[in-house]
Amino acid sequence: MMPSLQRRLLVVATLVVAGFLGITGLILDQAFRGSLERAQEDRLQGYLYTLLTAADLRDDRLAVPGELPEAGFHTVGSGLYARILDRRGSVSWQSDSLTGVRFDTGEHLEPGERRFRTVDTGEEELYLLTYGLFWEEPDAGSGEFTLYVAETTEPRMHQLAAYRTSLWGWLAAAAVALLVTQALVLRWGLKPLRRVATDLGAMENGQKSALDGHYPREIRGLTESLNQLIRSERERTTRYRNSLADLAHSLKTPLAVLRSTLEADSGRRIPPEAMEQIERIHATVNYQLGRAAAAGGGGRFGESISVRPVAERILNSVPRTRHAGPPEIRLDCGSDLRFPGPEGDLMEILGNLVDNACKWCDTRVELAARVIGKESHRLLELTVDDDGPGVPETQRERILKRGGRADESRPGHGIGLAIVRELVESYHGEVHVETSAFGGARFRIRLPLR
């Protein structure tokens, strides 16, 4: 199944936000780290100047005698170190803090050369500023020296870690806020589409006859085309049914004349073939045109009708014409049941079944309607029961076929039940003939509800 529009957009938005905020975070992290290092370099430079200010050349050794303002230089393992190497690489001087600390320095820089880097001593990580210088004192001589100032990275790393925690924390919060906003915007933005879907659902259920809401300009074209399509489909079906009815009408009257002409003169012998052919034409007109009307049906889009009023009208009308007087009739039908098609189709189904039941029943007829099945596959079940002789097992298939009458002695052309079957099948439903709880026949119809 295709993911919903909302889900698609949300997935893309999430990816974009994540990528964008991730890159932003990396850049900010990088920038902060750079600025930390530059600050550290400046700091080391400051220490270097302090050292140089206090330095003193004696016996070709450059040393920093006396107390330095930074107590770190005098505390063993404080993390702040300084060392001066002469041109040959021997230690000219080193800070007290370096006592017992492993600190490898071998590199010699030319005077004026300067290098800042991070080194790992194996015990700790240090920022190291190396500076080459030429020292000259008027009465003490001169020499080339390399000065090392180093400080542990630990406090800076702490700073960086704290910064990172807060940076990514805020970025994550921003991402969540953005995504929530995005979801809300999407929800709101896609609302008209959802409304179209709901309205279409309402049309399918027959609660609406057209998409009549106010829709945004972008989808108005779509809804108007849909309305147009549904309208023209309805008109087409109506025209089709009307022309079928007209055709049936214009065939039946001449047929009636023909038949009664043949019947009228009872003195003359009527060739049985002639009557038979008329019967055949009659049956064909009734059945084929009824069937064609049914095949054009199957329920037009968005058409449905409440079952109960139609059932009541059928039960009030049909049995009145029964010669033996109206039977006892029970109707069991909820008022909220709907038939997924036009009134005419439901009347045709119920009319034929009830008429059939009234024809065969002794005294009782029952019409029941209910919805069965689960939410996704709901069926409308219609049953018509009578207490007549019932339909033998072997006849059950046959009576639903055209011209398949079980008993030739009762009036009828054996078309009604076949039309019921055609109609029901046009709704993708089924007709079954069973034995009724009160002994006679039961016709059970199941139609899928949309």
Binding site: V257, S260, A264, N286, G290, R313, V318, T321, G344
Partner: protein, 227 residues
């Protein structure tokens, strides 16, 4: 019995008239709605056969109008519109029965007889009054379970009286319902038929089935079950 046929298809109307007359019904024909309505209102009709697609005034409107005026005339719709929707609409408009075209003449007659019978308050197709039994299905009469030979007019006369047991039926009413307008309506003819019917129903003069009320008419004096 006087039947009004409202049918615009001339050939069918003529055939109906012919057949109904041969069944000794009196037939009035109307080719359009307004004429049909006028005849149904102002003529002593016992039953109307109405087509739905009529010029001037549709069959449905005609029936609705008659019923709105309080008419209880039995009405049978005879139409090419065979759908149940049309049937229900017709019956709801006030028709008593509905027969789609093309139809068998025998079925039409059976339904007409059933309607007439129900109008007379008879539930069963055999009208039983004392020793007289009239079977509307076979149009045969028995007296003390023995078949009785009646002419078509005698049969119609007996049937008409049986539909109104215990009621006084005037000579005019009888001639209106049993004779067409253009026929020679001599009330003596009625007297002749009544006399013949009496002789056939009561050959020994012991039953006195039809009482004559001087200046008022005739009354069937036979015991009808359930009335």
């Amino acid at each position: 019995m006087r039947i009004l046929v409202i049918e615009d298809e001339a050939a069918l109307a003529r055939q109906l008239e012919h057949r109904l007359k041969s069944e000794s019904f009196v037939v009035d024909l109307a080719e359009d709605g307004p004429t049909g309505l006028h005849l149904a209102r102002d003529y002593p009709v016992d039953l109307a056969i109405v087509d739905l697609g009529l010029p001037g005034l549709s069959g449905l409107e005609l029936i609705q109008q008659l019923r709105a005026e309080g008419s209880r005339l039995p009405i049978l719709i005879l139409t090419a519109r065979g759908s149940w929707q049309d049937r229900v609409a017709g019956l709801e408009a006030g028709a008593d029965d509905y027969l789609p075209k093309p139809f068998r003449m025998e079925e039409l007659l059976a339904r007409m007889n059933a309607l007439l019978r129900r109008m007379g308050g008879w539930a069963h197709p055999v009208l039983q009054a004392g020793p007289v039994a009239l079977d509307t299905r076979t149009r045969s009469v028995t007296l003390h379970d023995r078949p009785l030979e009646l002419t078509a007019y005698e049969y119609r006369l007996l049937e008409y009286l049986l539909h109104r047991p215990g009621t006084v039926v005037s000579k005019t009413e009888l001639s209106e319902h049993l004779y067409p307008d253009d026929a020679d309506r001599d009330s003596n003819v009625i007297e002749v038929f009544i006399r013949r019917l009496r002789q056939k129903l009561d050959p020994d003069g012991t039953l006195n089935p039809i009482e004559t009320l001087r200046g008022r008419g005739y009354c069937l004096r036979l015991e009808v079950p359930g009335s």
